[in-house]
């Protein structure tokens, strides 16, 4: 048992949770006070001692479920490490037939019971259609259901079933939804079904991996450890999950920076306050008080490479930068591939991915062959917009500086550097790949105040606060 828990902690660490030895000790101590047969208490004892950041809670949740119910749990059991009762106690009481499934689904939707919904999502995979007869395969038989079907298909089945049931119940009567319910009900139901859809997708993915006999945890860890996953090499599912992770992060960042700005303490001595303080010490000003500076807000100019390889990165970086936009008096964004175009107006609605997609279609960011040309893009930026850029401005460039061996035109940055307050460059490539191949980041770095490596969300969220 100890070994098993240490194994679990090890996985958590792999997934990016910083767990110290003293926390491990706490965890074991906490476990002496709870019964391992009480799933909730057991899980909680682990989570409150090991997880110290709300960002990590979903990771814990997923790994806990995988580890203690997934294939790893079975393996451990085979090795005799795990008390059998633990697993049995942790199992979920499945609905026995389709009828019960539907009843519970409706109840879960009405009560907004997310736990039940995600459990039911796993059951939903096992619904089978055989000559218009729906049936539920009992148990988690290997190879049963799931494999091959898509989330859409499963949902279609569920929706058909629900519609049928609704018809049966109402036989002839038309249900009228009135008053406030006509606002509440559809919205609530949609919300819950959206959650259910996502849960079905997840369940299918797990089932698939399980059926192929792969170690789920090992597979999931790269997807779970989003904070440290390279953005430009991430696959589609990873990007999707990052997308989900980045929203709370942006919010967090926004409130954090507002705070930091206030806390920056450098300034002149506040005579009035110092004298008032000195009364305590008989008129001797022992304790100096300072006036907090009120820095003026700079203007921000953002230049994003939106070529295919960079889109994911640009979307995240833009989203994070926009989260701190109230640190600036004005934010203007520009996109380029080989031509720079202002795109500020595309972001009136906050879906960044959609906006970037539209930019690629509608804005004239390409004039040539569709490959990045930083030189040309910079020149076009300089010609079109530079005269309007004031001295109290920050310019931030997002890109990998892979110029396809075209002229760098770095003089543009040299000129701009003397004109504005700060030029920063965020590069999503690992530092050791800079200036290799067609990367010419070095040419530009000379004229930037700082060039930051921003491979993953973690680095991004560390760098963004420095830009204000």
């Amino acid at each position: 048992m100890e070994k098993q828990i240490l194994g679990f902690i090890n996985y958590l660490r792999k997934a990016g949770l910083p767990i110290s030895v003293s926390e491990t000790v706490d965890c074991f101590q906490a476990l002496t006070h709870v019964s391992v047969f009480d799933k909730q208490a057991f899980k909680l004892a682990l989570s409150i001692t090991l997880v110290k950041d709300s960002v990590h809670l979903p990771i814990f949740e997923e790994l806990f479920n995988l580890y203690f119910f997934g294939s790893a749990a079975q393996k451990a059991q085979e090795l005799g490490i795990k008390p059998k009762d633990l697993n049995e106690n942790f199992t979920y009481e499945r609905p026995k037939n389709v009828e019960e499934f539907l009843e519970r689904l409706d109840a879960a939707i009405e009560n907004q019971d997310l736990n039940e919904l995600s459990q039911l999502a796993e059951v939903a995979i096992d619904i089978q259609v055989d000559a218009d007869q729906f049936s539920l395969i009992p148990g988690n038989l290997p190879g049963s259901g799931g494999s091959g079907s898509t989330a859409g298909e499963v949902l279609k089945k569920v929706n058909t079933l629900r519609a049928l049931r609704q018809e049966e119940k109402n036989t002839g009567k038309i249900r009228i939804i009135e008053g406030l319910d006509s606002w509440l009900q559809p919205a609530e139901e949609e919300q819950m079904l959206n959650f259910f859809r996502a849960a079905v997708g997840e369940a299918l993915q797990k089932r698939e991996l399980n059926n192929r006999g792969l170690d789920l945890i090992e597979r999931r860890i790269p997807n779970v450890n989003l904070q440290e996953t390279d953005i430009i090499t991430a696959n589609y599912t990873q990007l999707e999950e990052m997308e989900r992770a980045i929203k709370p992060l942006a919010k967090k960042l926004a409130s954090r920076i507002a705070q930091k700005r206030k806390q920056a303490r450098k300034g002149k001595v506040d005579i009035r306050s110092t004298l008032r303080r000195s009364l305590n010490t008989g008129g001797v000003p022992l304790d100096l008080r300072f006036k907090y500076p009120r820095p003026t807000k700079p203007e921000l100019y953002l230049l994003c490479d939106v070529s295919i390889s960079m889109t994911g990165f640009s979307a995240f970086a833009l989203q994070l930068v926009y989260s701190i936009q109230n640190m600036f008096s004005k934010v203007k964004s520009f996109a380029f591939i080989d031509n720079t175009v202002e795109i500020t107006d595309f972001f009136t609605n906050t879906d960044f991915n959609e906006a970037l997609y539209r930019i690629n279609r509608e804005a004239k960011v390409v004039t040539g062959d569709g490959r990045s040309d930083y030189g040309k893009a910079l020149v076009s930026f300089y010609q079109k917009y530079a005269p309007k850029i004031g001295s109290n401005s920050h310019i931030i460039i997002l890109g990998d500086a892979r110029n396809n061996r075209r002229p760098s035109e770095a003089w543009v940055l040299r000129e701009l550097k003397s004109q504005v307050r700060r030029i920063y460059w965020l590069n999503p490539e690992p530092g050791n790949q800079w200036d290799t191949g067609d990367s010419i980041i070095g040419d530009y770095a000379k004229y930037c105040h700082s060039v930051y490596e921003c491979r993953n969300i973690q680095q991004l969220s560390q760098v963004i606060p420095k830009l204000a």
Binding site: K3, S35, G179
Partner: protein, 302 residues
């Protein structure tokens, strides 16, 4: 490892009983505990560790500490954190004026300086601030360190000694150890990353908005005079608003305010008119209100 079928962790028959007691006790003090919260309180008590509570504003973090002190019949000592809070305001301060008076009063008498110095660095001249008070109290105490994320980094370091060993070192007096280790609750709104050192010493509880059932229970507990169906409608509306993309989501306390407002309006059932006119209780930004009103109007089939 084969013989580890003998569990090192004793299945504890008391555990579930104690947890039920905690829930009951907290409810009497006006706080509805979820299983999670009750379990955390139980473990914190057993392990004698501080609890760091984090979550959005208005989910009842501070309330938790208040109810806890009520349940344990312990004194609640509250340290409200803010920028620039220093040890003189949080820990202890020498009562400078009293020391001065004492020296002046002693001037006539024949006392050597050493004696005086010994006297004036006595506990009589020590002004206890919340942290020292919590440590030296004879009675059991609950120490609430509210909004810990507002203080500076250096102050956090100051807390470490108290949090792990329940003691305070005063250079002139030596180390003061707690007679009754206080039950410590720290709350944070996560406006700043807390240091690893602090987090390591605490149990971590993330409080989010409650699920529907619990929120309904809370409304019923706090506004008992409200009819059930109305309470349910209120909770549903609040939850839907929370899922919208707005600046400030309504918190539990705002839900309760709204529930009371609805009650005093004396309506039988919520309709669009009532929601629209009372929205300002729930939402604090004009933009948010417009957004909800708009959705309300477009979604309603009149």
């Amino acid at each position: 490892m084969q013989n580890s079928a003998v569990l090192p962790f004793g299945p504890n028959s008391d555990q579930s009983k104690i947890i039920d007691e905690i829930k009951e006790g907290m409810k009497e003090n006006g706080y509805l505990c979820s299983d999670t919260i009750a379990n955390v309180l139980y473990l914190a008590e057993k392990l004698q560790k501080p609890v760091l509570v984090e979550g959005p504003a208005g989910v009842g973090k501070t309330e938790l500490a208040k109810a806890l002190s009520g349940m344990k019949k312990a004194e609640l000592i509250r340290l409200q954190c803010y920028e620039g809070l220093d040890e003189a305001k949080a820990l202890y301060e020498w009562n400078y004026k009293k020391q001065l008076l004492h020296i002046q009063a002693m001037q006539g008498k024949d006392l050597d300086w050493e004696k005086i110095e010994e006297n004036i660095f006595d506990e009589d001249f020590l002004l206890s601030r919340p942290l020292l008070k919590a440590i030296t109290s004879d009675k059991p105490t609950v120490l609430l360190i509210d909004e810990i994320d507002k203080v500076d980094l250096e102050f956090e370091a100051l807390l470490l000694e108290i949090l792990s060993d329940f003691q305070i070192s005063i250079p002139e007096l030596g180390t003061i150890k707690a007679k009754n280790p206080p039950f410590v609750i720290l709350t944070s709104n996560n406006t700043r990353e807390l240091t690893e050192a602090l987090k390591r010493r605490c149990l971590f509880l993330f409080l989010d908005y409650p699920d529907m059932d619990r929120e309904l229970e809370i409304v019923k507990l706090k506004v008992p005079e409200l009819p059930e169906h109305l309470a349910k409608q209120i909770v549903r509306v609040v939850r839907l608003i929370r899922s919208m993309d707005i600046k400030k989501s309504p918190s539990i306390s705002e839900t309760l305010d709204w529930a009371r407002a609805i009650f005093y309006l004396g309506v039988d059932s919520l309709d669009r008119q009532t929601v629209e006119t009372t929205l300002n209780v729930l939402l604090k930004y004009q933009g948010d209100m417009e957004r909800v009103t708009q959705s309300l109007r477009s979604g309603l089939r009149v």
